[in-house]
């Protein structure tokens, strides 16, 4: 069962079945294309273009000036640190969950797949709230944490937890189909030849799933660096202390420092563009592999 909350990944080729159906008159074709493009321009392209125009509207000088601000540099650093912890955590979990689900038939398998999707369905604010209710001062673990002088809420650990929560399903979702497709034959052959579990994983399984895994990693990373809602609930949003890049964007905008906001926004938009390009490349890679097999 594929419960795709983000159909970010599962997309078949877009070039097949070209050619206009005999009954479609050319003017219908161009009318439909026109409406589709107009809609995308209004909702998607103009806002996307606006980020870049605003960021460089006063030239490159002020842009770079904004980029060397102390709070901004800290936000960049914090965003990277959080992604650097949350992404590997979810990769290990994603690989384990994918193997468990793709390699076994058991009752409740579909249920487990849906459970893994839950973080996508939950509002980021609710995700943040749940973490506050657990680790906050009045939370379940609050007294214990306070007694041991451990700070999680309004600190980096809470932000990592929030980020890990919202990005949890990506790797598992992308790896499961690839793992299912690859099948067990090669792994069994390796085992027959005397390979141990680690050898099988490194030499046989991993090469088979590498593009799917990379794809999942990229999506996890993009969301981890861009997450706003969940992180914002648990962070307290203190500049220079618990402010990530997306939080910096909102804060600067609210303080009427729109140029600063756009300088940071253009970095994040650049990340989004790179993500889309890598995604496109990886999609072709997996497709070529599928076709060859």
């Amino acid at each position: 069962m594929t419960t795709d909350l983000t159909q970010f990944g599962d997309r078949a080729t877009s070039t097949s079945k070209a050619g206009v159906p005999a009954s479609d008159k050319p003017w219908i074709k161009w009318l439909l294309i026109g409406i589709a493009i107009l809609y995308l321009v209004l909702v998607l392209f103009i806002p996307a273009l606006n980020v870049f125009v605003q960021a460089f509207s006063q030239g490159v000088g002020p842009f770079f000036h904004n980029l060397v601000e102390q709070d901004f540099l800290f936000a960049v650093k914090l965003t990277l640190i959080i992604a650097l912890i949350a992404v590997p955590l979810n990769t290990v979990f994603g690989l384990c969950a994918a193997w468990a689900i793709a390699r076994h038939q058991f009752p409740g398998r579909t249920l487990l797949l849906s459970i893994i999707d839950i973080p996508f369905a939950i509002s980021p604010v609710v995700a943040g709230l749940m973490i506050v209710l657990l680790y906050g001062r009045n939370g379940w673990f609050g007294p214990f944490l306070q007694a041991n002088d451990i700070k999680i809420i309004f600190a980096v650990p809470g932000m990592v937890l929030a980020t890990a929560f919202v990005t949890m399903p990506f790797v598992a979702r992308e790896v499961i189909p690839v793992l299912e497709e690859a099948g067990v034959d090669q792994e069994e052959a390796a085992r027959t030849l005397g390979a141990n579990d680690w050898q099988i994983f490194w030499r046989v399984t991993l090469p088979n799933i590498r593009w799917g895994l990379l794809y999942g990693l990229i999506l996890t990373n993009a969301r981890a660096m861009g997450e706003f809602g969940a992180v914002s609930v648990v962070s307290g949003n203190i500049a220079g202390k618990t402010q990530t890049l997306p939080l910096f964007v909102e804060e600067a905008y609210k303080q009427y420092q729109t140029p600063s906001a756009y300088s940071a926004a253009v970095l994040l938009a650049g990340l989004a563009v790179v993500t889309l390009i890598l995604k496109e490349i990886l999609e072709r890679k997996t497709r070529i592999k599928d076709a060859a097999e």
Binding site: Q7, V125, V126, N138, F201, S232
Partner: protein, 287 residues
């Protein structure tokens, strides 16, 4: 992966007892369950238990207070409209991308995923600028007295933006796999283009369209980053439920935040169920 063959619960119903299997799980299984428990089950259960300590009467009072009801109205109605609009235009976009060739198609196809990749605060920032009274698009509406940014209309625009890819991406593979022969035989039997569309093409597309709309709706209901920036967040006008939760937390009103959070959580879980059912319905057409 690191699993000894003896511990792997095999698909062939093995003679090992349930408890034996539970205590002899392989490492990946252990990691999966421990991580899921710590990250997902414990927080969800903690929130539910916390909400239950409020007491049913008080829970109902907070969950149906005037301000809460108005945020549900704003959140769900606007999300539904946004998802429905994307249902129509998303179908059109998917159709155009699968059936026609035109210059720039590949770029447009790739760009549809932009709302997934673009951080929500950036989306909110740029939408608020573009649709404000002196923005590129907002200034076209301002002379007619239509304000978009900082009103419910702006909220709708943000929700349309973030839920745009769902219908397109759900529908695209289905359209691609559709057998051209079925359509052609309909024409051969004398059906008009219109009849072919309504009787042959559309029925198998209904489940994926509805799935996409449900996915988009579910995302729009929970959305925070882009909506909080473009909305004015005025109570009873364009204040949405996630923002209300945030405000309650800021006022240290944990009971209020928890109750409304639980309501949203339950609705998310129901939506997840609905989406599963819709997808199962869609597979009816698989051969």
């Amino acid at each position: 992966m690191a699993a000894s063959p003896s511990a792997v619960p095999n698909s062939k119903s093995d003679s090992q007892s349930f408890w034996y299997r539970l205590t002899h799980l392989s490492t990946p299984w252990k990691v999966t369950w421990v991580y899921l428990s710590l990250m997902l089950f414990v927080p969800v259960i903690a929130m539910m238990l916390r909400a239950s300590t409020v007491g049913p009467a008080k829970f109902w009072e907070i969950a149906t207070s005037e301000i809460a009801l108005s945020t549900y109205n704003v959140t769900f109605l606007t999300s539904l409209v946004a998802a429905a609009i994307n249902g129509v235009f998303g179908t059109l976009i998917a159709w155009v991308l699968v059936r026609y060739e035109f210059p720039g198609k590949r770029i447009i196809d790739a760009a549809v995923d932009l709302p997934f990749a673009l951080p929500t605060s950036v989306a909110g920032l740029t939408l608020a600028t573009v649709y404000s009274d002196n923005g590129w698009i907002g200034s076209l509406f301002a002379p007619f007295g239509i304000k978009i940014a900082f009103t419910r209309l702006g909220l709708g625009v943000a929700m349309i933006f973030i839920s745009l890819p769902f219908v397109v991406r759900t529908l695209q593979p289905v359209l691609q796999e559709m057998e051209k022969e079925v359509e052609e035989s309909a024409w051969c039997l004398g059906a008009s283009a219109w009849q072919t569309f309504w009787r042959v093409i559309l029925p198998p597309l209904v489940p994926p369209i509805l799935t996409g709309v449900a996915l988009g709706f579910s995302r729009a209901v929970g959305e925070y980053g882009s909506t909080v920036i473009i909305a004015g967040n005025v109570p009873f006008q364009d204040l949405i439920a996630p923002v209300l939760i945030f405000q309650r937390l800021e006022q240290y009103d944990y009971a209020g935040a928890t109750v409304i959070g639980t309501v949203l959580l339950l609705i998310s879980l129901v939506m997840l169920l609905v989406i599963n059912v819709l997808q199962a319905w869609g597979r009816r057409y698989d051969h």
